[in-house]
Amino acid sequence: MSHAEFIPLAERKRLRVTEIKKHNLANILTHWFNVAMWALLLPTGLAILASPRLGIVPELWQTLMRNVFGGTANLIEFHYSVGLVWMAVLTFNILLGFRKYFIPFTRERMFLDADDIEWLKVKPLQMIGLAKAKRLPPQDVYNAGQKLYMYMVIVGTLTIGLTGLIMTFHKLIPWPWLIQWSLPIHFSAVGMVVAGLIIHVYMGAVFPEEKEAFFSMFTGKVSAWYARRHHAKWYWRKMEEEMDWEDRVLAEGRALKADESAAD
């Protein structure tokens, strides 16, 4: 932690038991739906790549998957079908939740601000052991690294989806060159996301500082302690909102009391 602050023990204990909602149900379901789709698509997609000239997938894996699915055609059909379900559900979710979830999520959580840019300048240096004394700027609900990964996933998913649809409906495509180019583009987009995914899984499931982030993908909640230490900008905005709410309630209460006194 590079923006450590002194917090008395009693306050720390209170923060630890106070929960703040980080993810709504739509976020959680979309996340785990994506996990399930990747778990089905990545192993089957790799197994399809049988060309000895490419030489990237062990023959054992190709044979295993073909035996499990009963041949190459079934394996490809399964990959196509799951890919179509993935794209259909994502599109449906985005359209259905466009105003309620998609627009607010994009507006409030996705854009990089000045603090994020500064974080991106400092954090890589600190990761290689430099600029240790420099303070990391406070981060919002997602830190700048998470936002960059989010961009990568969005670009990757769009690319994978588009090229996947081209290959799935290859019988309707009159230009073989389009299918020929879709193959390496699809592969590269998957590779790009997987490279990021390794870090994402480590940071989310193994890295001790981010353990709460992992559990928040089930419960939707993080402790106030975690929020304050890792996402200070977001935490203090939440506190402001809470205080505003309290002020409003107090003001309403006072107005009610004044009305009652006047009536008496």
Binding site: I48, S51, L54, A73, I173, P174, L183, I199, Y202, V206
Partner: protein
């Protein structure tokens, strides 16, 4: 997997009269739609000067090579060498219609069927062979120019024909030799238009192999090493974050 049989053709060029009954038989047997064809009879034209003239008609189709470049390049494994009979076949249900094999085939013996979006080629009439029959083109050949059988069986017609032959040619060059399973007898077939070209690989495939795959492997390796270093550090230093 060891190949049980090695089916292929022997073609006696001297016996071909260019009647093209084989083309019709193939089209009917395999429902090949016009303007495509799975087999050809290549007319090499008149050669020499009168009175020493020569003209050859060369029956031609997929060579069912032992080392086929089309299999090497096939993305999904839809093109394969049948382990039972050695024929090079296309599982059209598994073909993704990329056409990389069409470019790679040194004999231009494949085509991409635009109406079905899959690759098509000579199958050696494998459905007939499995029933113990000859391919349609062989069964219908009037002059007996086309022969078909198992080269691994010394009693087969093709093995016997090869044993008797005085001149046997495979369509190969010093640069391109995928060990084709069509043997030509009695004719000058080593001519332009019949000899194989170098396999062609598309720019997309070349970049995939040369750039995309190394880049993805490098990215994933770096990413993996990065988290491995962090994890090792975590194991050595302990989980300090949540220790009071």
């Amino acid at each position: 997997m060891a190949q049980k049989n090695r089916y292929g053709f022997v073609i006696d060029v001297a016996r071909c009269i260019d009647c093209r009954a084989c083309l019709v038989a193939c089209r009917v047997e395999n429902e090949v739609s016009l303007p495509h064809t799975r087999i050809w009879v290549k007319d090499q034209g008149l050669r020499g000067t009168f009175p020493d003239l020569a003209r050859e008609f060369v029956p031609y189709n997929c060579m069912h090579c032992e080392h086929p470049p089309c299999i090497e390049v096939c993305t999904s494994g839809a093109t394969f060498k049948d382990p039972d009979n050695g024929l090079v076949l296309v599982d059209q249900e598994a073909c993704i219609g990329c056409g990389l094999c069409v470019e790679a085939c040194p004999y231009d013996a494949r085509y991409l069927d635009p109406t079905r979006g899959v690759v098509d080629k000579c199958t050696g009439c494998v459905h007939r062979v499995e029933r113990g029959e000859e391919p349609a083109c062989v069964a219908t050949c009037l002059g007996g120019a086309r022969m078909f059988g198992d080269f691994n069986d010394p009693t087969s017609e093709v093995s016997q024909a090869l044993a008797r032959a005085t001149q046997v040619r495979q369509l190969v060059t010093d640069e391109v030799d995928p060990d084709p399973n069509i043997y030509y007898l009695n004719g000058d077939v080593m001519q332009t238009g019949l000899l194989p070209r170098l396999p062609r690989y598309t720019t997309a495939e070349t970049l995939w192999r040369g750039v995309a795959i190394p880049a993805v492997i490098a990215g994933i390796t770096l990413s993996f090493l990065g988290q491995a270093v962090a994890f090792t550090k975590q194991l050595i230093e302990g989980e300090q974050e949540f220790e009071e």
